[in-house]
């Protein structure tokens, strides 16, 4: 008793802090209860409407740009005799690639309404590329046994928003760095280990096929300038004048980010008006990438695709990214991916923007294809066969979950359809 911590007994100033906690507890509880009630009411409004959905494998695609990830997986599953239901949060017009005959397509509303639909889905397995399950996007349905996420870009669980992967049962990892970082996050948060599969990137197959079909045309070196949009975009930071300096030495293709048209229309107009360069605004960057010898970008996801698919170098303006609130803040340190790739995705400090043409020249004079291939094999699982591997892994999960249901039913046990690993 003599070793007790400072006493809080009696209604004295020490107790004041306890009293304060109690009062703040009541206030915060009330706030959370009311807000939670609001979301529950909204969610319940949709529940009744969507109570009859049921399928084996549900594949959720939030945006048309992720179809390149899912279509090869769906096709590979179909070849294995496993049908799936393809839920898209957009209408698939006639311009879209046809789905295999055994695949059912259902277009659901975008945003909250679509998420409410998914919240009440009945399925054995749901596959998505949308992170933050059960946190920000849709919630785990009590009638879906297993949730899996597939990667649609090279990632390392660093520049993703909080709890990106925490409530999935399985993550089909693109590479070793992501896998290690997810394990580290599990350790930091003390959460149960998820199933982490060595999968790769299913969408790389289509990109690779396209790259092989359109080899680099002969002629002078071409620089593709394709930055991101928003406050971190190099156009936002440096304007568009530096393009003229590059165009004096190289052929230049400028590809403004499509979102810039919506979010930064003035800047977008200035880019369209640039003289002495080709401005590419086509739907995909594939044509522009196939013609370019080197890519100049900033933090855009296009950098890894250009390097790994086309085996050509990239120069990035190395503006320090803040990890504020992102998972990288908990992981600490610098981007492992950046460190591994700095030999061919060459960072240049923003202060040297006026010498950017010299940097591009130096990078071009140092052939990098072999080095890229070597690093790629370390960083990305199953390069070029990711969709087949993903389909095999998903088929395995599906079979196991089905067997589990069957075995429980045979033993007369109640079948809980809530995922067990979460």
């Amino acid at each position: 008793m003599l070793l007790a911590q400072p006493a809080r007994a009696y209604i004295d100033p020490g107790t004041g802090s306890a009293l304060f906690y109690v009062i703040s507890g009541i206030v915060v509880s009330l706030y959370f209860s009311i807000r939670s009630l609001y979301y529950r009411v909204v969610e319940s409004a949709f529940r009744l409407r969507y109570k009859d959905q049921s399928c084996g494998i549900a594949i959720h695609c939030e945006d048309p740009r992720y179809e390149i990830t899912f279509l090869p997986i769906i096709a590979a599953l179909s070849r294995r005799g496993i049908s799936s239901t393809f839920f898209t949060m957009y209408e698939r017009g006639e311009s879209f690639e046809p789905l295999p005959e055994d695949v059912v397509h259902k277009a659901i509303a975008p945003g909250m309404v679509g998420y409410a639909y998914l919240n009440n889905l009945e399925a054995v397995l749901l596959v998505t590329t949308t992170p933050q399950l059960d946190v920000m996007t849709f919630r785990r349905s009590r009638r879906v046994r297993h949730y899996a996420i597939v990667q649609h870009a090279v990632g390392e669980s660093r520049y993703v928003r909080p709890y990106a992967y925490d409530y999935f049962d399985s993550v089909l990892c693109c590479g070793e760095i992501l896998k290690n970082n997810i394990r580290r996050m599990e350790s930091i948060r003390g959460s149960a280990p998820k199933n982490l599969y060595e999968t790769g990137l299913p969408h790389y197959e289509a990109l690779l096929a396209n790259a092989r079909a359109t080899p680099l045309p002969p002629g002078d070196p071409v620089v593709l300038v394709a930055p991101s949009w928003g406050p971190l975009s190099m156009f936002e930071a440096f304007g568009t004048d530096f393009i003229a300096g590059i165009a004096r030495r190289f052929k230049v293709i400028v590809r403004p980010h499509p979102q810039m048209k919506v979010s930064q229309p003035d800047l977008y107009a200035r880019i369209l008006a640039l003289e002495g360069v080709v401005v590419d605004t086509s739907r995909t960057p594939a044509a522009a990438m196939s013609q370019a010898h080197v890519l100049l970008s900033d933090i855009s996801g296009i950098t890894h695709e250009f390097a790994f698919i086309y085996e050509r170098p990239v120069v990035i303006i190395d503006r320090q990214q803040t990890n504020g609130g992102l998972e990288g803040e908990l992981l600490g340190g610098d981007s492992e991916l950046k460190q591994c790739c700095r030999d061919f995705i060459v960072p240049v400090p923003p202060s040297e923007i006026n010498e950017i043409a010299t940097h591009l020249e130096r990078v071009l004079s140092n052939p990098s294809a072999k080095r890229i291939a070597a690093v790629r094999s370390r960083l990305i699982y199953n390069f070029g066969t990711g969709s087949k591997v993903a389909a095999e892994q998903l088929a395995g999960i599906f079979m196991r979950e089905q067997q589990s249901v069957g075995s429980k039913k045979a033993r007369g046990l109640p079948v809980s359809v809530v995922g067990e690993a979460a």
Binding site: M1, G25, V28, V135
Partner: protein, 234 residues
């Protein structure tokens, strides 16, 4: 309903207080009996408070980690996004703000003891006309310093000293001093017997802190070890 609650919870406590008070020797005088009453009650309640303190310490680590993560989310996110991330933090630590209330049984006990003792002493007829040292009537405010009540000021001074000595966090210091001021306002015109009892309570609390924080750490290691064993057994 209130009568039932009164019969179930308050009357038994009143009976205990009356028994304790009647067991104290009359030779102490009314003031001495009040001081002894305070000491006896505090000693009897020590194991209860100790157990509650232990439970509080166990939950403190989790609470601190939750507070840290919630602060991080507040720093970086706004609106709907912030709400959902904070909810995820609570989920991660299996924490809910309402649990603050559930963990605060000790506070309920303290408030109950305070309220019931207040009620018991307020209704104590024997205080009327009883003197203690310079205090002429323990059932009235002391008015010792030309009509100014000294005991409530003394009680407040003890509280402020305790806060300044044992609370290092600026926010908690302000909170502690504010609470001392509230008690001063509440008890300033109360019966001096009641304030005497309460001043002794606070003094007891301060002395206990002195023993735990200043004296115990200076004990030789074997003695400390032995105390730790005894403490663990309890």
């Amino acid at each position: 309903m209130l009568a039932l609650l009164d019969a179930l919870f308050l009357q038994p406590l009143m009976l205990i207080y009356a028994s304790v008070f009647s067991l104290l020797p009359n030779s102490l005088g009314m003031g001495g009996k009040l001081i002894a009453f305070s000491v006896v009650l505090n000693v009897l309640l020590l194991p209860v408070y100790r157990q509650m303190e232990r439970a509080f310490q166990c939950s403190r680590g989790v609470k601190e980690r939750v507070a840290q993560e919630v602060a991080r989310m507040r720093r970086h996110f706004r609106g709907r996004e912030r709400y959902f991330y904070i909810r995820a933090v609570y989920r991660q630590y299996r924490y809910h703000p309402i649990s603050e209330l559930l963990r605060s049984v000790d506070l309920v006990v303290q408030i109950l003891v305070f309220a019931t003792v207040y009620r018991y002493l307020s209704g104590l007829q024997t205080l009327s006309g009883a003197s203690f040292g310079p205090i002429r009537d323990l059932s009235a405010p002391d008015g010792l310093l030309g009509g100014i009540n000294v005991l409530p000021l003394l009680m407040t001074a003890i509280n402020v000293v305790a806060v300044m000595t044992y609370v290092s966090d600026r926010g908690k210091r302000i909170l502690g001093i504010s609470l001392a001021a509230i008690f001063l306002a509440l008890l300033y015109n109360s019966a001096s017997g009641l304030v005497l009892y309460w001043t002794m309570n606070n003094l007891f609390s301060v002395l206990r802190n002195v023993v735990e924080q200043r004296l115990v750490p200076r004990l030789p290691p074997p003695v400390l070890q032995r105390f730790a064993q005894i403490s663990a057994q309890r």
